[in-house]
Amino acid sequence: MKKRQKKNGGSPMDPLRQSPSRSSSRASSPRTLPCEMLGYVGIEAVLDQLKIKAMKMGFEFNIMVVGQSGLGKSTMVNTLFKSKMWKSTMPGLGVPTPQTLQLQSVTHVIEESGVKLKLTVTDTPGFGDQINNDKCWDPILGYINEQYEHYLQEEILITRQRHIPDTRVHCCVYFVPPTGHWLRPLDIEFLQRLCRTVNVVPVIARADSLTIEEREAFRHRIQENLKTHGIEVYPQKCFDEDINDKILNSKIRERIPFAVVGADREHIVNGRCVLGRKTKWGIIEVENMAHCEFPLLRDLLIRSHLQDLKDITHNVHYENYRIFRLNESHVLPRGPGWVNLAPAPASVPAPAGPQANPSPPKVGGWAKDNSDEEC
């Protein structure tokens, strides 16, 4: 039974729509004729329907903070979400630094103006703390891949759930210690491996120890480092959809990495109650753009790009993982929930996975020169 399609070769897509992007360049869609509507029909009511449905379902967001101890990760999370997610750990108070890297996850539900957000924060105490930090990124990669694995397992079931619980890490905030010089080898190694699996946002931690000039110089050097080593941090240039996105994201990219200060104590400044750090020479206000760039980070992560982070995780990183997994499932760092999908061959190479390849498989815009990896 043939479906007769009348392909009207009319004018291309309505000029009001955005320029060809990854979403409107649908390869399989038929050529369509734009139609003039003579009156109000009410199609835009679908936006409200979407909103209502989304508010009813709620949102999920999973964030991971990585960095050496003492850089203020837990404080930063508390400041970002204005609530006591973690108990800020005080160094040297009888809590020994863990000998191995352990990942701790904590989940909270926060609500604001009717919007419910289920937030999962994963901390990595012990990262980079040992004497020999070789392969310290493996547990982290394993954890991230394990989340992808769970989602994949749920997705390929015959009887699937209506809504698959999403525990995949949407964003990884990497804390760079404020040395003022360059990125350390550990940072570079870690960022190289991670930026291919997850969205990474590097920040300069404890930026109150740098003056403004030092901060700018440090930022430039870090940007140069990132460019030299080919590390693409969020927002990635290749996923810019159209000119508006490009402009917006270029502005953000100029300021990456943000120099942030975290604080969860309030002080009175000029009669206002602000979050800040009190020192002998003044109070550093966290939300003051002149003092630190915390508002930029907060806006990026929460107010403007949260959905984008999730979309890129779902459409790009997860798809890459899925492709790799379905093709060569034996070469991935394994988390505890790992299930062997394909029979492992006799000789298993070192678990380096996609991170070791110079141009790993990517979907939608990144280098397409890896047809040899297809099975």
Partner: protein
């Protein structure tokens, strides 16, 4: 309706946020964080992606399907009215790009051509069901691919099926019942009474009641507007009571009062399409587009498509748990099937290769045979040639021998002659001559005479010996 969804818990709203036993606590916020812009972010994403909506219109020819679509979307879609002489039911699909403020909608309208026109209508529903299945299949294939582009994929699955009922005023036709029964598990079926200006109001209420009771008694599950969301529950509830909608479609406009209204003009009066007292068109538009479009799409994806996927995958032989009730990965069986398929391919390849080798061998043998024959012929000819040569050589040899013998005799004779001329003179000469003669005679009579020239001795014939 929701309860039939696969593993959807009753409190769907918080179903996944607060999973029982997970122990996530709600944390109070000390200030404004800003994630209340999340729905807006989501909406912006959807806007940039655009929306997709596919309607299937099923109904007999001449019930006003195209007119209704035109009226519903306030535009003139291209198309010609179909004739009644179609040999079978065919589906015609057209896609249009509609834009309203900043929302872009890709609307696909699929219409049945020739439905209900045949004499034997037993198989009329089949092309429709196959079409719907084909759309699901395409989506399933895309989803199962290794390298897939789901977020770019143009979703062609049918979101709503408008079933046009002829306004007889009595009851549903059996064709309608059969078709709707086949379609209700595959697509959201919304029955509507077409051309309802042919029925009076009192008849209409009776007709509607009759239709609903027939549908219920036959177990046809038509689409019920969702009632779980407080915002729209009330509206949807009242609308549900008015199903099936009695609609009129028209694109002609008339100025009534100070507005242009869509109407149908009769000598006895004018029917206004958008007048709620005249027909249910406004309700249909409200329900279909303004209130429930998203829900229709979601139902198609999460109920109908999942059902299709489950059936299809089970048919292909996959299970979720194997007989030992260990969680069985779909991918493992997929891998096994793929290996099987590859094995088959390899086997075929081997077969072909072997056949090829065999053919080559045969050809080679043939050529060798031919070559051998040629050689034999060559040998034979060579042999023949050699034989002849030998014969000739023998002949030559014998002639040579004769020459030699003659020469010897000649020298011997000359010697004797010289001796004879010295001593006995003529006697020996005579004797010699006689001897010679007898010898000559002998040789001549033998035939082995090698002396050239005439021999005068032999009386009978003149023998000329030539060498």
């Amino acid at each position: 309706m929701e309860a039939e969804a696969n593993s959807g818990s009753p409190e769907d709203s918080w179903a996944f946020i607060q999973r029982p036993g997970e122990g996530c606590r709600t944390v109070p916020l000390a200030g404004h964080v800003g994630f209340d812009s999340l729905p807006d972010q989501l909406v912006n994403q959807s806007i940039s992606q655009g929306f997709c909506f596919n309607i299937l219109c099923v109904g007999e020819t001449g019930l006003g399907k195209s007119t209704l679509m035109d009226t519903l979307f306030n535009t003139k879609f291209e198309g010609e009215p179909a004739t009644h002489t179609q040999p079978g039911v065919q589906l015609q699909s057209n896609t249009y790009d509609l834009q309203e403020s900043n929302v872009g909608l890709k609307l696909t309208i699929v219409s049945t051509v020739g439905f209900g026109d045949q004499i034997n209508k037993e198989d009329s529903y089949r092309p429709i069901v196959e079409f719907i299945d084909a759309q699901f299949e395409a989506y399933l294939q895309e989803e199962l691919k290794i390298r897939r582009l789901l977020h770019n994929y143009h979703d062609s699955r049918i979101h709503a099926c408008l079933y046009f009922i002829a306004p007889t005023g009595h009851s549903l036709k059996s064709l309608d019942l059969v078709t709707m029964k086949k379609l209700d598990s595959k697509v959201n079926v919304i029955p509507i009474i077409a051309k309802s200006d042919a029925i009076s109001k009192s008849e209409l209420t009776k007709f509607k009641i009759k239709i609903t009771s027939e549908l219920v008694s036959n177990g046809v599950q038509i689409y019920q507007f969702p009632m779980d969301d407080e915002a729209v529950a009330e509206v949807n509830g009242t609308m549900n009571a008015h199903l099936p909608f009695a609609v009129i479609g028209s694109t002609e406009e008339l100025k009534i009062g100070n507005k242009m209204v869509k109407v149908r003009q009769y000598p006895w009066g004018t029917v206004q399409v958008e007048n709620e007292a005249h027909c249910d068109f406004v309700k249909l538009r409200e329900m279909l587009i303004r209130v429930n479009m998203e829900d229709l799409r979601e139902q198609t994806h999460s109920r109908h498509y999942e059902l299709y996927r489950r059936c299809k995958l089970e048919e292909m032989g996959f299970k979720d748990t194997d007989p030992d009730s260990k969680p069985f990965s779909l991918q493992e069986t997929y891998e096994a099937k793929r290996n099987e398929f590859l094995g088959e391919l390899q086997k075929k390849e081997e077969e072909m290769r072997q056949m090829f080798v065999q053919r080559v061998k045969e050809k080679e043998a043939e050529l060798k045979e031919a070559e051998k024959e040629l050689h034999e012929k060559f040998d034979r000819l060579k042999k023949l040639h050699q034989d002849e040569k030998k014969k000739l050589e023998d002949k030559k040899k014998s002639l040579d021998d004769e020459v030699n013998a003659f020469k010897q005799r000649k020298t011997a004779a000359e010697l004797l002659q010289s001796q004879g001329s010295q001593a006995g003179g003529s006697q020996t000469l005579k004797r010699d001559k006689e001897k010679k003669k007898t010898r000559e005679e002998k040789s001549i009579s033998d035939g082995t005479c090698t002396t050239p020239g005439k021999h005068p001795v032999v009386p009978c014939a003149l023998v000329v010996c030539a060498v």
